[in-house]
């Protein structure tokens, strides 16, 4: 069919930030489905609590300190994360490098705290259904910590190479966006794992 040009887009940029970027929307999609996974795991936790007369089953409630430390570290990490995001949007490479390294270190610390948490929940996954669901919820969140740490490490390494330009800044911003989700999801899960057994 004959074509009739009506608009010229040659002046448009080749990448953007936030909701301009398709990858941001893709990340949001994964956030939605993973949030659904957390919600269902939380629902399963409350369901099992509902059908059992005692909760926790046959063990004391978990020590809350590792989880509380995790909460503090994650909430504190929001600040460097926001700075990484801002540096990316400003396309300020040295600051992006700095804050990605900081975020990588914080990610490693968070994974370490998670290991400490597993040691202090006072129950094994095969003890009873309570142990199973606690390990499940904690494990699901641990998977997110580990994958985001992996993303951050790769991206941090990338930003020290010759590829550190253009669209990569947008990737850094999207990575920061995902970390907000990892932190935000811990708040209700913390209440669930450490609060509900004490109710």
């Amino acid at each position: 069919m004959r074509q009739r040009p009506v608009q010229d887009v040659s002046a448009l940029p080749t990448y953007g930030y936030g909701s301009v970027s398709p990858i941001w929307w893709g990340t949001l999609g994964f956030v939605a489905l993973e949030a659904m996974g957390f919600a269902l795991a939380g629902g399963a936790y409350l369901y099992l609590r509902q059908v059992n007369p005692d909760w926790p089953i046959a063990v004391p409630p978990p020590s809350h300190w590792p989880g509380t430390v995790m909460l503090i570290v994650l909430l504190a990490s929001l600040w460097p994360n926001a700075l990484a995001d801002r540096a990316a949007r400003d396309e300020n490479l040295p600051r992006v490098q700095l804050w990605l390294v900081v975020m990588s270190v914080l990610g490693i610390i968070a994974v370490g705290i998670r290991a400490w948490e597993f040691m202090h929940i006072n129950v094994r996954w095969d003890t009873n259904a309570y142990g199973s669901i606690v390990w499940f919820v904690l494990g699901l969140h641990a998977t997110h910590l580990i994958t985001d740490l992996g993303d951050t490490l790769v991206l941090a390494a990338l930003m020290f190479t010759r590829h550190a330009k253009g669209k990569r800044f947008s990737d850094v911003s999207d990575n920061a966006f995902y970390w907000y989700f990892v932190v935000a999801s811990w708040v209700p899960l913390y209440a669930l794992i450490y609060g509900v057994p004490r109710l």
């Binding site: 040009p5 040659s10 002046a11 953007g16 269902l40 059908v51 009873n128 790769v154 590829h163």
Partner: protein, 638 residues
């Protein structure tokens, strides 16, 4: 390279003549011919075609297992299949049809057609798309190879605990089922996200929300259903496999677990699943009706709102699968009401389609015949659905052939008939050739008659008390003649699929050539060659109407200014589709395949030892990193 030189090399489509434009775009977008290049393809049409063919291959396997079961049930006390093989066959049939055929084939059509219908050059995240195909293929092969090795699952397609748990299903059969779920759900979720982002961001400029084709709306709503429903079955199947492999107690009542937890999680996915299969089919119906009624569909807005309403309501129905488990009466009453409520938006859609046809001069080609067949069969299925939504009736017919009849009327009538119509409708676009109308009419007639003869008697058998999932029955029960009739119908239905296969093979070689728009339809997939060139559109269309090709009979408004030497597409705002950036679509890569192999190996190993997850994560991490790491191509560096 200096900036100036780069700017000189960046050739735009603005002033190129047709031949030069075609040559350059082909060089940029084509899939190479060597084996590695084919395996690296990220073209949504190549991947979509693979998806469609693979899904139909699994349909064939699922269909053959159904034929085997019907032969066994044709007369009382038949000895063709033993109970163990029969258990595997009904599990393989249901699992294959739901997870390896129905959902993937709908997504496959979306992978192929959504980018064309919204006027872009590739799906969003094309490498993820390639990865999702490989994962789907490996998951399906894993299931069927297991079956051939006599470890095919035998616990039903919904794998109820405690039957599927460690106590009653030792061995690997239930593990195979649970891991097949992981494969297929990863692939379905990935495609869902690709479709949402393609529709949200990559629509051609001018395609505002109220100009999106109804099929695309249907796939958008379906994708949201997938995102919110499929995690439930992944959570459930992961818990099942943990119970089986590492001794957790999610479903073990002796240690505080609960078997109904499985049913809740499964049906929280399982009921939306029905609509994940049905909603795309309604999109196909809308596309076919508009083309053959020769007018835009009546009631665009109510149709879109119905799709969204059905999407929401589908999450409030799951407990009607559990009416006989002794739930509180208030809960049952709520789920009865919501189950009946969903008939309202579904009915509204049917009235809109009837109104469209009423006020038109329909052209009764094969695609439209399948749509007419859909009306007839789906309405019967919908009515028996309203019946089983009622707790007393459900209690009476639960686990009988009445339910088997009901859901085959809904699924085959509601999804397979529109799908077959869509095959006849879109085959010319995919292959460039028309399917034979004569064989098509035979195909439709045999499918329609065969289906009804096969499944209508099951209503009566169910009311007479014949239970599901029995490998045989005694002559005294008096079920013999209706079963024989049903089996005869199944053979006729099967023959109709053989005719389809013959038609496809013959027409792909010798059918009359189709041209760009053989049906004179109005949406954008018909604005390009058949089959479409690797770059879909030589210039991105500018959309001025819901049926752009009917609005612009002489010339198509287009946008210019895109680079022709890198894979540029336009990405725009969500509601107005106002162009924002010239987004570069990723070039081909072998890493999605290698990542899929690493992931498949990890899942396979995890059936035997949980350590496979730890060791498998290393190759998975390596392949994913290589996938994402920039290769210094122009697409990467812009």
């Amino acid at each position: 390279m200096s900036t100036q030189a780069a700017a000189q090399e960046d050739v735009r489509d603005t002033h190129l003549d047709d031949a030069e434009l075609h040559a350059r775009l082909t060089r940029t977008w084509r899939t190479g011919t060597s084996l590695i290049e084919r395996l690296s393809s990220v073209d949504h049409k190549v991947v979509g075609r693979r998806y469609i063919l693979t899904a139909f291959f699994f349909l064939c396997l699922g269909g053959l297992s159904a034929v085997a079961m019907r032969l066994q049930l044709a007369r009382p006390e038949a000895k063709l299949l033993g109970p163990d093989l029969y258990n595997q066959l009904f599990t393989m049939h249901g699992t294959t049809m739901m997870f390896l055929f129905a959902v993937p084939v709908m997504e496959a059509f979306a992978v192929y057609f959504v980018p064309l219908m919204v006027g872009t050059r590739n799906i969003a995240f094309p490498r993820l798309n390639a990865f999702s195909y490989w994962i789907f293929l490996f998951g399906g092969l894993f299931l069927w190879v297991s079956f051939l090795l006599k470890v095919g699952p035998d616990v039903g397609w919904f794998a109820y605990v405690p039957l599927s748990g460690p106590e009653f299903s030792p061995g690997k059969r239930a593990d195979v089922w649970a891991q097949m779920i992981t494969f297929t759900e990863i692939s379905a979720l990935a495609v869902a996200i690709e479709i949402i982002v393609t529709v949200f961001k990559q629509r051609a400029p001018g395609m505002t929300l109220d100009r999106i084709p109804l099929f695309v709306w249907a796939m958008l709503v379906t994708s949201f259903l997938i995102i919110f429903a499929m995690p439930a079955v992944m959570v459930a199947s992961t818990m099942l496999i943990l119970d089986r492999l590492v001794g957790t107690h999610f479903f073990n009542p002796a240690e505080g677990g609960d078997s109904l937890l499985w049913q809740h999680l499964f049906w929280f996915f399982g009921h939306p699943e029905v609509y994940i299969i049905f909603i795309p089919a309604t999109g196909m119906v809308s596309a076919i009706i508009a083309a053959f009624a020769r007018r835009p569909v009546f009631g665009y807005l109510p149709l879109v709102l119905s799709l969204i309403a059905v999407g929401f309501l589908s999450f409030g129905l799951w407990v009607h699968h559990m009416f006989v488990t002794g739930l509180p009466q208030l809960g049952s009453a709520f789920f009865t009401a919501s189950s009946m409520l969903i008939a309202v938006p579904n009915g509204l859609q049917i009235f809109c389609w009837v109104a469209t046809l009423w006020d038109s001069r329909p052209v009764f080609k094969t695609p439209l015949l399948f749509v007419i067949g859909f009306f007839f069969i789906f309405i019967i299925g919908g009515m028996s659905g309203v019946m089983v939504a009622s707790v007393p009736i459900d209690t009476q017919v639960h686990d009988t052939y009445f339910v088997v009849a009901h859901f085959h009327y809904v699924l085959i009538g509601g999804a397979v008939f529109p799908l077959l119509g869509a095959v006849y409708f879109w085959f010319p676009k995919i292959t460039g050739r028309m399917l034979s109308e004569r064989l098509g009419k035979w195909n439709f007639s045999l499918a329609f008659v065969g289906f009804n003869v096969a499944f209508f008697p099951m209503h009566i058998l169910g009311l007479q008390g014949m239970p599901r999932r029995v490998y045989t029955y005694l002559p005294e029960m008096g079920w013999g003649s209706l079963n024989l009739l049903s089996s005869a119908g199944a053979l006729v239905l099967f023959t109709s699929f053989v005719l389809l296969l013959v038609n496809v093979i013959l027409s792909a070689r010798r059918g009359p050539t189709a041209g760009e728009n053989p049906w004179d339809a109005g949406t954008l997939e018909w604005a390009t060659t058949s089959p479409p060139l690797p770059y879909n559109f030589s210039r991105i269309p500018f959309v001025t109407h819901r049926e752009p090709l009917w609005d612009n009979r002489d010339s198509l408004p287009v946008i210019t200014g895109l680079s022709v030497d890198t894979r540029e597409t336009v990405s725009g705002t969500l509601t107005e589709a106002f162009p924002e950036i010239r987004e570069n679509s990723p070039e081909p890569s072998i890493w999605p395949l290698l990542a899929a192999i690493a992931v498949a190996g990890t899942f396979l190993g995890s059936i035997f030892t949980p350590w496979a997850v730890v060791w498998g994560s290393i190759p998975v991490a390596i392949t994913l990193t290589c996938w994402f790491w920039p290769k210094g191509t122009p697409e990467d560096e812009k």
